[in-house]
Every structure is written in structure tokens, then in C-alpha cells.
Symmetry: C2
Subunit: 414 residues, 2 copies
């Protein structure tokens, strides 16, 4: 069988996904498998066992991430890695992250069964605590691997009960000796569900992920003067609510300034003290700006800083505007992105380029290895919810693109 | 001394206000004298004792309101009443309500000292639970008196600890045998602080209150679709926040539609679930419309019902709009209002007509007796706050207008 004709075993991949769906299952069909919980321990053990069955050796780094290595022809090359994460949100679905790990295993199993051996060693990675649901921040282990976070600081992060990552790693026996980041990788490919509605709406099978958009988060407080709703003439009011509502619409306009690329979201918005017959003293709200390009994010932030002060002043209000976090845009390695695009084309799958709207371990991996991602659509774009759903055919298509992207990259770097 | 030359004793009135300020005093200079609390019991006892000293007899009705009656020339006439309330908000000031009761007492004391006897019996009323801070609704006892509320329903109202009005009336010994509303009154005059900034800003001593504006309260819920702030294109969003912000501005425009008379306030406004990186599913907010004329309130409500649905539709959202309460505008009795205006004029006080923005016991009293109110300015328009403040001169001016309005009405109906 020529390499081009190889296909993953969609039945087996699906059976692994469905097995995973039993470990930490919630009554509503979702998963609650928080990082380093007993359920996480159980799925990690399953992962290790599967890897061993396929001839791999599994190591843990000091953050507990699992690195399963399968021999290639030339053992001196850095391995060609696939992966994602097996932890979930507390009200998580069955596919977010899990698909990327299981599909990596499936690629290894498929090549093993077909007797095809890559030049590079293959590696399948399960990153610890991608979700950030139990320990902040999200993607902490890939972040440590890539040097974005300090290892000891990360190990000291606590869950809501005060238990540290270090404590929980030791408890479930997941702490390894390897210092994160000391492994060199030839490349990193991550298959993931889109977690948005774009591919489904466009009738696509595959998203060729060219990068991850940048984000900037702001906290905004508009302060006026609380007063009696019945006795205070409009001209004497300093109405924080009217001021903030005008700001919200302006922020909506900034979000629409680069159609199809810029995004603005006000997820939190609250008037205080929140009495029906009192003009609000303060309104506090959040702003989330996203764009694939940093220069555009600069423009959006500039527009925000220009537009808001007059809207405070018009209502006699004070404005406090603080950028509290940012994540710069990521562009994936053209060679890896091309490998994904060519794989989707050769497989005859409907595909389009897409920029990831959400963060993934690949964001940090792109700092230390040629990286790309593959998206498959998910039903209604819904994620982080028990109803998160993909079909077996979608999982299989994603697995096949992962397989052939890896084979393409391996052949190109032979 | 001619009746026209009589003046209240401002020192005595102030000393009574300052005594009241010690009963339920808070460390920040305010009062916490919730209805039917031990502090309320104490000030009620003080009130009864003062009335007895002035030759009055005090009865309680079944709602615990205190009616102190002082003999006039013709004991067969219904009494000419003054009053307000001695209960406060939990973070209340020293004058809201209290001024109206103490000034009523001062009018009686002044006439007594001057040897002037009115044709009508005089009555000073302390209404139970005007504030509504401990038991809902506000103005419950005057409302029962006027037939707006059922007595037994009102007695069954509970505070936050589950204690009923009936229970607390019995506990402090304030329940009387008289069925509320069986007393006929010749007229009712209520002196009150403005609780707004209009008189102070206009440099006035006295507000001649011609009525109370009407209010309508609405609950509004805008429902869209929660989705990921990073992965959902603007065109696929049903953003409840953007929709509701547009509505808030439109409501602001409706509030400004009749300058100086119409008011609109959004006191509560909250985006849910309130996550920074999730487009809100729902926004819930309140609307408070006020206007002195019912026809204008109808127009404002109509404008609301016309303007909001398209703003929901534009964003793919559903709208739930419910009018949850209304209080129709009240016009006070022209004869009583004239008596107040003439009193202010004759006393050489700067005065202007004003419509009350807040509710008062006089709202209900106007249903069953010729009624008017007198406002004095309060510092910065601040009320329901420990910093609520008036000067002795302002209290005295209000007391003198109350005195001469009562004398004028008494003479006109002799």
C-alpha cells in the first residue's frame, strides 16, 4: 500500500473517544475530568497503556505532561509530535482536546498496522491542565514547556481548595523527572474541534489553521453619581448607565471595524448599586478585543482610548480603563500549515483557512517548534458544554488530515 | 398678636429634630430606625409624651399609625391633619419624614403658646412604615388608611427575618383598635424635605408641591445566544449586550422627550452569565419612567413598546417587556395648594411650584382628603443617606409655611 492510500481506522478512533467519554462522565452526556483529578489519573493510565501496546515509551515531565515516543527510522532526529489534552472543563464535552490526543494515537496505530515507518520518531503528547478550569492559567504545561511560565511558579498554582499542582501531580503519580522544554521537537501538529460555527456554516470538513488571533482584555469602570430616580432632573444627573451604554455601542462599532477579522465582546456588564429607583453610581464592564494582527489590535485599543473619554465627559462621569491581559497573535509555521492544506486537498476534503479564535497548547508550542493545527467542525459551534458534539466521520476526516500532514512533513524533511 | 404674625419656635423644632437624631443614631451621623423596631418604639413613646404635654390624645389604628388630636373650637368638624413618618431607611438621614411630624407638633405647640385656637381640631399623624425598608410596600399604613391596601394583607407582610407587621405591632404595643380609614379628615398637610436638588439649585426656600408625578416600572429581558467570544464571528452572534445597550440609549432618549418633566432611569442592568470571554446570553434590566401626567406616561410607554422590538430583532434577540408596577400621577387639592402658596408668599419666602418626584404618604391621603405638601430644600438633594442635611433656618421656614397653610385653610373653611 502506498503511503498516500493509508487511512486511519475511524471505528477504532471513535471507540477510543467513546471510552474516554466514560471516564469522568456526567449524567448529561458530558465530561467532568479536571486536571490531575482521579478521573484524569485514570485516563492518563489508559493513555500510557495504549502507547505501550503500540510500542511506545511514555515519559512525564515535571509538569506531568505525558510524552509518548514511537521509534522512527532515524532515532537521532527530534521527534515529530502530535497532541493536545485529556483534561476537561467541569461541564465539558467529550471531544475538546481529547480528539487531538486520540487521533495522534490513531495515526501511530495506523502506521504501525500498515508497516509504514516515518523518518522521525513520532510523539504523542497529553498536556497537563490545558483548560485552566482547575488551576490557572490555561495551557500552563505547554506554557512552561515553551518557557512562557516559570516551572516552580506553575507548580505552586492552587485549585479552589488550595491544593497545588505539585501536590496533585505527586498524589496521582504524574510528576516526572524531565525538565519541560529540554526536548527539541521537529514539529507539532494539533487536531482540535473548532469550538465555533464557521466551518459548519460554510459546509467545510476541515479548517487549515493558519494561526491564533491575538486578544486584549480590558476592565472598565464608569463612575457617576448615584441619585434618586424620581427627584433628580436629567440635567443634574451624572448617569453612569447612560454613559456606559453609549460606550458599549462604540465598542461594538470598533469590533465591526474590520469585518470578518476584528471582534469585540462585552461579557460582563453590571450597574451598581443596582436599585430600580436609583441612578447607578458605577457601571463595571469587560471588553475582549480579538484580531489576527497585532497592528490591528493596536488600532482597536487606540480607538477605544479615544472614543470613551468623551462619552464619560458628556455624562459628567469618570472613566477608569485598564488593559488587564493580552495574548499576541500567533502565525503558525508555513511549512506545517502547507502540509495540513495539502493533506486536506489530497484527501478530497472541503477545507478552508481559518484563524483560531480560542487559545490552544499550539499557541505556546509555536514558540519552540514549527507548529500547525487542524480544525474539524463541531455541531452548532458549541463547546465547553455537555452537548459538544462531532460525528465519527468528522473525527475520521480530522484523523486522516493529521496522518497525512505528518507524513507530508516527514517526507519533506527526510 | 394677630394670627398673621405668629411664627413657630425654630429653636424648639430643631431641638426636637436633634432629639430624634439620637434615637437609632448610627456612627456616621445618620439614623437606622426601621419601622416597629425598638428604636421606633422609643421615638413613638416620645411622640406620645409630647402630644400629651400639649393636651392631645393619641390613638393608634390597627396599622399602628399614631393619630394625636388637639381640640379646636368646633369639635364636630373632622380634624385638620398634619404629619409624615418617624421611621427611616437602614442608612437613613435625620430629616426625611421626621421633619413633617415634628413640625406638626411645633405648629400645635406654637398655637397653644399663642393662645390661638383653630376652628377644626388639629391632628398630627405619624404613619407606620412609610419607608418600606423593613416591610414592603412603602407607605403601607397610609395606603391601608386610604383603602389602597387590604388591612389583613398588610398586617401579614414580613420583614427579611419573617416577622410580620402584626407580630411587631403587638411586640412594641403599637396596635390600636381603630380600623384605618374610618376617620374623616378636613385636610392633610405634609411638610417634607425635597430629596432632590431642584429647590437648592434654584435658590428657593419653599417648594409648593402641586402633586406627585406618576411612575411606571418595567422589567426587561433581552435574550440572545451565549457563545465563545473568540470563535464566533459577529455575523453569527445574537448579542444580547449590544441589543440591550442600544435599548438603554433609546430609553434615555424617551426620558429626555419632555425636558424638565419626563424622566427615565435604568437602575439595574446585568449581563448574564457574565463571563469575560462569552457573549452574554441574556441581559436583564429595569426601567423607571416618571412624568406628572398620565397621558405623557402613556406616550412614553408606547414609545418604549415601539422602539425596543426592532432593536431586539436587529441582533437576533428575543425581548420580554413587562410593566410590573405603576403609580398614577397625583394632583393635590387646589385649595390646599393655594393655602401653601399664600403662606409662603405672606411669609416673604422664595418659593416655586414643584411636582414631587418621590412617593409620600400624601399620595394616598390625597385619595381621601384635600391634601397638599410643602418641600424645603435639602443639601445637595441628598436623602436616604447619613449625610442628608437641612439647616435650622430651612426647618423653621417649612414649619412656618405649614403653620400658615393650616391657619389659612382653617379660616377659609370656618
Amino acid at each position: 500500500m502506498s503511503a498516500a492510500a493509508i487511512r486511519v481506522n475511524g471505528e477504532r478512533l471513535w471507540s477510543w473517544l467513546m471510552h474516554s467519554a466514560t471516564v469522568g462522565a456526567t449524567p448529561d452526556g458530558g465530561l467532568c475530568r479536571l486536571a490531575l483529578s482521579d478521573a484524569d489519573k485514570e485516563i492518563r493510565a489508559w493513555f500510557s497503556a495504549q502507547c505501550a501496546t503500540l510500542g511506545g515509551t511514555v515519559e512525564h515531565d515535571a509538569m506531568g505532561s505525558q510524552f509518548a515516543r514511537f521509534p522512527g527510522v532515524d532515532r537521532n532526529r527530534p521527534p515529530l509530535a502530535m497532541g493536545s489534552h485529556l483534561d476537561t472543563q467541569p461541564t465539558g464535552g467529550r471531544f475538546d482536546g481529547i480528539l487531538g490526543v486520540q487521533a495522534g494515537l490513531e495515526v501511530v496505530a495506523t502506521l504501525c498496522a500498515a508497516g509504514v515507518r516515518t523518518q522521525h520518531d513520532l510523539m504523542v503528547i497529553n498536556w497537563t491542565n490545558e483548560e485552566g478550569a482547575r488551576f490557572a492559567p490555561a495551557m500552563v504545561a505547554s506554557g512552561v514547556f515553551a518557557g512562557a511560565f516559570d516551572l516552580h511558579h506553575a507548580l505552586a498554582q492552587k485549585d479552589s481548595e488550595g491544593l497545588t499542582i505539585a501536590h496533585e501531580l505527586a498524589r496521582i503519580g504524574a510528576a516526572g523527572p524531565v525538565v519541560p522544554g529540554t526536548r527539541k521537537l521537529a514539529a507539532y501538529f494539533e487536531l482540535h474541534i473548532e469550538q465555533g460555527p464557521v466551518l459548519e456554516q460554510a459546509g467545510m470538513d476541515i479548517g487549515v489553521v493558519t494561526g491564533v488571533q491575538g486578544m486584549r482584555w480590558f476592565d472598565i469602570t464608569v463612575s457617576g453619581q448615584a441619585c434618586h430616580a424620581g427627584t433628580t432632573p436629567l440635567a443634574m444627573r451624572r448617569d453612569a448607565m447612560q454613559s456606559a451604554a453609549a460606550m458599549a455601542l462604540e465598542i461594538g462599532r470598533i469590533g465591526a471595524s474590520d469585518p470578518g477579522r476584528s471582534l469585540a465582546t462585552i461579557g460582563r456588564f453590571e450597574a451598581r448599586p443596582g436599585a430600580r429607583n436609583t441612578v447607578p453610581q458605577d457601571v463595571v464592564f469587560s471588553v475582549d478585543f480579538r484580531h489576527p494582527e497585532n497592528s490591528a489590535l493596536n488600532s482597536m485599543e487606540q480607538a477605544l482610548r479615544v472614543a470613551l473619554p468623551p462619552l464619560a465627559e458628556q455624562h459628567g462621569c469618570r472613566l477608569a480603563l485598564e488593559r488587564i491581559w493580552e495574548s499576541p497573535p500567533v502565525s503558525f509555521a508555513p511549512g506545517c500549515v502547507d502540509a495540513v492544506r495539502r493533506a486536506a486537498s489530497c484527501l478530497g476534503l472541503r477545507h478552508r483557512d481559518i484563524v483560531s479564535g480560542a487559545g490552544h497548547d499550539a499557541v505556546y508550542m509555536a514558540r519552540v517548534a514549527p507548529t500547525a493545527m487542524i480544525f474539524v467542525p463541531c455541531e452548532g459551534g458549541i463547546s465547553h458544554h455537555p452537548s459538544e458534539s462531532i460525528t465519527q466521520a468528522q473525527a475520521t476526516a480530522g484523523g486522516n488530515v493529521l496522518l497525512h500532514a505528518v507524513l507530508t512533513f516527514d517526507a519533506a524533511h527526510a
